[in-house]
Amino acid sequence: MFRRNLIAAAIALAITGPAPAQDAELAKIREEIKQMKEGYERRIDALEKRLAEAEAKAGKAERSAASAETAAASASSRPTSEGAFNPAISLVLQGTYARTSQDPNTFQITGFLPSGGEVGPPKRSFGLGETELAIAANIDPYFRGVAIAALAPEGGAEVEEAYFQTLALPAGFMIKGGRFFSGIGYQNEQHQHTWDFQDAPLAYKAFLGGQLKHDGVQLKWVAPTNLLLELGAELSAGDRFPGSDRNKNGVGGSSLFGHLGGDVGSSYAWRSGISYLKVSPQNRGYEDLDSLGAPVTNSFTGSSRLWVADAVLKWAPNGNSTVTHFKLQGEYFRRKESGQLTYDDTAGSNLFGGPVSASFDGRQSGWYLQGVYQFMPRWRAGYRHDRLNFGTVSNGIVQSGLGPVAADFPVLTPHSPKRDTLMLDWSPTEFSRLRLQFASDQSRLGLTDNQFFVQYLYSLGAHGAHKF
């Protein structure tokens, strides 16, 4: 290109040369031009040779950073339009076909104060799950933003997560703020579509209302060690179960967690953790029926503390999970609630001339253990065992003979629920999954709910990165 231009220039020079000159003079000029041209050509050749050499050497080490950047710019093929700044957008489609031997509307975990959340099995027959729309991007060099909206099948949208996260704090610190899934436990931070079963473990349903999200801030620190040690603290409004909306200034809930994790050889990876959550619910209400079958509203005010111990172990031959892999996961929950319970039957039987209140103290626990095995590409099978221990519950209203008797608190009938779940899923790619699940659920006192689910899960759009 450069060379051609020079030749053209030389020719142009030749043509526009002094016309009235003598023949000899003309010949002389021509000769000069020819020499010039040859000279140019030689130099250009040399230049080209050097260029080729330089290129072949792919730039020696001493090549300047500037030229490397130019090379990089020409080699990369990033889009340059305004749309290049569009955030990563992804959508999760999910739905179920459910067959249950008990009415899903009567679901309760007997023995445990209800969370008020949607923790029951999906509705019978065909049902749409929540459609999840996630948008995420780095905001600037200092922050990242994530928003996840859950579109409810019955209409309406809920903000599942919407938070900012720091990217530039030094020394391993990170701050997250907004609405986010709490870092307590193991499964709590995982999105529902990445769970290995269609539903949450019973302990999650009983103690966290399925999954705990905070409106608040989280501070996390990763230790500068080769073994992962991360510590986190969260302050929140504490307005979700096990907390409740308090309409008070200050912090309503706080939690602490610590994780330790690493590898054993190249085939095993593990993580374990300890978490603590404290909230102070005010008039956390739930509906029940008294011994006559009339509606009662109960509410709890006091403090609720939860300890969680979790561990997960993953195996894949040489760390290559494409053909086979195994995941063992378990969590243990222990909750202590103490405060006041109020029994209000004024809208129903109205036997006591108004609400009745007395002290309430409960120490309850629960755990689950699950294993999921990919036995061949695309196919996984899993088993989960759930158990809740009623523990000790002292209901001051009943004990001090204020009127209502134990039969007026059917939800608090001593009961230790359990459940066994089997799962088989098929994932044509990492973006699609079909799952069969069968569970024998004894959450309700004296009743076994045989649940059969077919579930589909599809994710489209940006390739998300999933947590360990």
């Binding site: 080699a75 093929s77 060690t225 080769n226 290559n320 590409p377 990165a465």
Partner: protein, 301 residues
Amino acid sequence: MIKSLKCMLAFAAWLAAQPALAALNVLACEPEWGALATELGGDKASVYVATNALQDPHHIEARPSLIARARNADLVVCTGAELEVGWLPLLQTQSGNPKIQAGQPGYFEAATYVVKLEVPRQVDRAQGDIHPGGNPHIHLSPYNIEKVAVALAERMAQIDSREAAYYQARAKDFLVRWRQAIITWEKAGAPLKGMAIVVHHKNLSYLNDWLGMREVGALEPKPGLPPTTSHLSDLLSRLGKDPAKAVVRAAYNDPQAAEWLSARAKIPAVMLPFTVGGSDRSKDLFSLYDDTLARLLAVSK
């Protein structure tokens, strides 16, 4: 009380001593970049490789150990081109390390320094697990290694400027040896020109492009999908018309499909180390290429 204070102090001291003593902590996403960082960094760099040659770099989890390593890294060296999209972003957002965020000098993407092959004209997952930026398996062209080496040496010199001369000297030395090796490999690899092969995944495109081998089919029906019987049968009948010399897979690819086709098409199945550590003999970048060529030449006749 004093005892526990002493314990705490000792713990703090131990924590402080944890980041490796070398000047530059490098976390390499794949073994080839780990090997390259070692070539250039010598004993001034402490290199940790996130994956091994028997792992599929597309399917790695953001394991706790990797988050811990990312926390301490001064430089993360990855392929880029969406190869690590399923796990690297988590290492960046969960490690609390501002140095390795996108756009920072501590985040190095090798694929931006080379011209990528197979850049899709249309990006649709109906075509399988394709990479919008082009084929990311760039390291089996020695010219790409050369380009990345130059850029990486510059980056190491930029981050650890006190040792800049050291990295540049090592880069010069590496490039001289590498150029000589390319001449040897190209001479030795001449018989491979035009050789038809079936690949497992489209992860040998740069090797084919360099050596002039012809890819006549892939065991995966679409990139990233496991081989199916019907696709393999189709491939087998196509090989009847357009025969291949060998069916070639990377060490991390499941051997079953390659062996199935090999037995029926009566062509050898060849396992390539694919990256450093993929075979006993591929201990560094040089021996990786030596072994790769030796394995291909063994079936080229």
